[in-house]
């Protein structure tokens, strides 16, 4: 939360502070704008839905959905960090999400060996992330000897073993029910997110958690939906963690380490020939991505307070991160996050998940009763058909959208945007426009853009022609078609 508010405030004082601050803010203008939008969104949603009722509710994603998107988006970003930037498809990435979630729950239940009970949520989150790093090291040591499909399959194998274990291992739920039903945290476990050692900045997350941060009560700020205060507080607290994680990953991508990751994706042989020990770089990138994947899993528990195998270790958890990454743009760090928002938004619009929102209630309200009762065939009425096809089958529409994206927008939303703008990233483009000059100006922009420019070009080649891959494949059977 502190990061969120600090940025816009500093913007006003920028010129008075130091020259580099202005440049820095210019470089991050788009980030600030996006963060500002996310801060405003709950209140915007509140007012618009309050004012316009059903039409607004139909079009805008609900706050609960935006909250879910936060950790799923972070997970998709961590998936993209390894898969999109090094080109090694981590098909068992759900393993790390699951480790993050399960470690926190087991820790809260006092079941982890060597750890005392009663640890705070933040500590458990850190422990789970570090555990994921260790597991990633072990998996990586074995898996990075392979490449391509084999790498994807061995990581999937590890994740599936964990999935089976999480469904069947009695130790997970001592004296309780079937482990495949999932495990709960104890009733007195209150996950608190916030800045360590600063008490006013601790937020108890969850549906029944705090509804105030720094004495600001969100329930009071919301005009129409006062009861959503706790959700908004959780949204900000979890959003702050996601933001910090995003900035950290973005920093790594733009560091020399990240450049080597991209070099591995573009041509691993060449990167090796230059003298980089690519094995170590791949392993490092895998461990970093596991860290953030586990944080995402821990955030799930922070809000839900429970976890089950299908929401954690399941193959489709990775599957939908992949879908989001493709829709948003593989190899663009923020892309998967927006991809998830797009995906969840569409799913909610066409197939409302839980309560409210979406097209169906709108149609039922505004279509005249005569049409609703019309029969299509047999004893099926239109309202019956709406019920059957527009409630809870989001994956159907997600699949169709995904296929369309793969066929027509293979580089995703952000990737396409980059290509259109002709910049290495949307952030650079905005900062360049704001700066008014052709150079990137500001702090540390010069070298960055030159290096990244080639990335964009390479990305478009990979996506559009595959010529870049031809020498590597050595005349393999992939060069089919026209």
């Amino acid at each position: 939360m502190s990061t969120d508010t600090a940025a816009p405030e500093a913007a006003d004082e920028g010129s008075a502070l130091a020259p580099w601050v202005g440049g820095y803010l210019r470089d991050h203008a788009i980030h600030i704008a996006v963060v500002a939008f996310f801060i405003v969104y709950p209140f915007l949603y509140d007012v618009l839905v309050g004012q316009f009722g059903l039409p607004a509710e139909m079009l805008l994603p609900r706050l609960q959905t935006m909250l879910v998107v936060l950790w799923l988006g972070l997970f998709a970003m961590s998936f993209d960090f390894i898969s999109g930037y090094t080109g090694y498809l981590s098909f068992g990435h759900a393993a790390f999400f699951g480790i993050g979630a399960y470690t926190v729950v087991l820790g809260a239940n006092g079941q982890l060996p060597l750890l005392p009970g009663g640890l705070s949520f933040m500590t458990l989150m850190l422990v789970s992330a570090l555990l994921a790093v260790v597991v990633a090291l072990l998996i990586g040591l074995v898996s990075f000897r392979l490449s391509g499909v084999y790498f994807a399959m061995i990581t999937l194998g590890f994740a599936e073993i964990m999935y089976v274990a999480s469904r069947n291992w009695d130790w997970l739920t001592p004296g309780q029910s079937d482990p495949s039903d999932g495990i709960n945290t104890p009733a007195d476990f209150n996950p608190e997110l916030g800045v360590p050692f600063v008490d006013p900045l601790q937020v108890e997350t969850g549906v029944f958690g705090d509804d105030a941060i720094l004495g600001i009560n969100f329930g009071d700020l919301l005009v129409y939906n006062e009861n959503l205060g706790a959700i908004v507080a959780s949204y900000f607290a979890i959003g702050a963690v996601v933001l910090v994680c995003y900035l950290a990953m973005q920093r790594i991508i733009h560091s020399p380490f990240g450049r080597v990751m991209i070099a591995i994706r573009e041509n691993e042989e060449r990167a090796k020939a230059i003298g980089y020990d690519t094995f170590k770089f791949k392993l490092g990138a895998f461990m970093i991505s596991a860290f953030f994947g586990a944080v995402a899993g821990a955030l799930l528990v922070a809000y839900r307070g429970s976890v089950n195998p299908d929401a954690a270790f399941f193959f489709l958890v990775t599957g939908f991160a992949l879908v989001a990454a493709i829709i948003g743009g593989l190899g663009t760090l923020a892309g998967p996050f927006f991809g998830y928002i797009f995906l969840e938004g569409i799913e909610e619009f066409l197939a409302r998940g839980g309560s409210g929102g979406g097209l169906q209630p709108f149609l039922e309200e505004f279509l005249p009763g005569g049409i609703l009762e019309m029969t299509i065939g047999g004893d099926l009425t239109i309202s019956g058909a709406l019920d059957a096809f527009m409630t809870g089958h989001g994956e159907f529409y997600a699949g169709i959208i995904f296929v369309i994206f793969v066929l027509y927008v293979p580089i995703g939303i952000l990737g396409t945007l980059r290509l259109r703008l002709g910049a290495d990233s949307v952030a650079t483009y905005v900062s360049r426009r704001l700066g008014g000059s052709t150079g990137t100006g500001g702090s540390g922009g010069g070298g960055k853009s030159a290096a990244a420019e080639s990335t964009t070009a390479a990305e478009s080649v990979t996506a559009e022609g595959g010529e870049e891959d031809a020498p590597r494949e050595g005349g393999g059977p992939a060069e089919g078609g026209e």
Partner: protein, 341 residues
């Protein structure tokens, strides 16, 4: 300590009592037959086209549901054993053709567009198709109430009602004891292997396919219509996937449900990878390996030596991981196949 002795005793018991050993072997063979039917379509498509067909499991699931519907529509439950088996085989042939048609449509309209892209895009495309197909079936099934007790079309959970009584029990012949359904499974598995082997090695199209696997450009240069070969292979692979669904419908361990798609897809992957991408021989050997290990695992669970319920799945993926560590290209994999992104 005593527990360990007990396990040892069970093991001794297994290897000293031929009847028990034979029973486990027959079960392993039956499992292997199912695995080879599940996996061979996938391996055919991958070997020639480098496409990992994620929709494979969905095809199997569609095959199972459609077969259930067909068999019920024919009213096979009331017929005698011979008649049921004939109907069953006819249904299997029909499902093969229907799924082959669906596969053709999918290849011509969608998959074909992506051949010049890196292979990951074909994975993504088929994954998207798989999600859509599965969810569509779930919609349909829920709508029809097939698994909820309200039967609009008289579709019931197809398995239980359609398995003829003669195939439900087990038979003892001297020392040998086997489940009746396993005989049918083993026969079908053998037929599948022989048919695919004949297709690959004794037909003109099989020659095209092998030439395409070897060197696609050269094959095209020699006048082989590679594009058409791709379509045919994709159709055959999809058809086999559907036909496998027909027998899975009758097997008590699998039966019909929407999650069958994923339950089939993952072991099929494992077998294809363990056998070596693109090698049909590898797929057959890997199926035998996985089937046998699976059968011994089940036996160990039944004797109480292992109390972990997920032992089957755990072992299948364990085999995958161990194999990839020891032999990164699988049993009969070709260097370079499947290495690129």
């Amino acid at each position: 300590m005593i527990e360990h002795l007990l396990i040892l005793g069970d093991l001794l018991d297994l290897f000293t009592s031929p009847s028990r050993l034979i029973a486990v072997l027959i079960e392993g063979l039956a499992k292997a037959s199912l695995y080879v039917m599940i996996a061979s379509g996938l391996t055919l498509i991958f070997g020639l086209m480098d496409v990992i067909n994620f929709a494979h499991g969905a095809f199997t699931m569609y095959g199972a549901y459609m077969a259930g519907g067909l068999i019920l529509a024919v009213g096979a439950a009331e017929m005698g054993l011979a008649m049921v088996v004939v109907v069953f085989l006819l249904v299997m042939l029909t499902i093969f053709l229907v799924l082959a048609l669906i596969g053709t449509v999918m290849e011509v309209s969608l998959v074909r567009r992506l051949y010049e892209y890196p292979p990951i895009f074909q994975i993504l495309l088929t994954f998207g198709i798989a999600i859509t197909l599965e969810e569509f079936m779930r919609m349909f099934v829920e709508f029809q109430g097939i698994n909820n007790g309200q039967y609009r079309f008289g579709w019931e959970t197809p398995r239980l009602e359609t398995v003829p009584t003669a195939l439900r029990g087990a038979t003892d012949i001297g020392l040998i004891r086997f489940e009746n359904i396993h005989v049918l499974e083993i026969l079908l598995g053998v037929v599948t292997v022989v048919a695919i082997w004949t297709f690959l090695n004794r037909t003109r199209y099989g020659l095209f396919v092998r030439a395409g696997v070897e060197d696609e450009e050269m094959a095209a240069a020699l006048g082989i219509n590679v594009k058409q070969t791709f379509t045919v292979v994709f159709a055959i692979g999809s058809g086999i996937a559907g036909a496998a669904g027909v027998i899975l419908m009758w097997d008590p361990l699998w039966s019909v449900s929407v999650p069958l798609a994923l339950a089939v897809l993952l072991p099929a992957f494992v077998i294809v990878i363990v056998g070596g991408l693109g090698s049909f021989k590898g797929t057959v050997v890997a199926s035998l390996l996985v089937g046998m290990i699976d059968a011994f695992g089940t036996w160990a669970f039944q004797t109480g030596a292992i109390t972990f319920t997920g032992i089957d799945d755990l072992m299948i993926f364990g085999i995958l991981v161990v194999m990839l560590i020891l032999q990164p290209r699988g049993l009969f994999g070709v260097e370079g196949q499947g290495d690129h992104g």
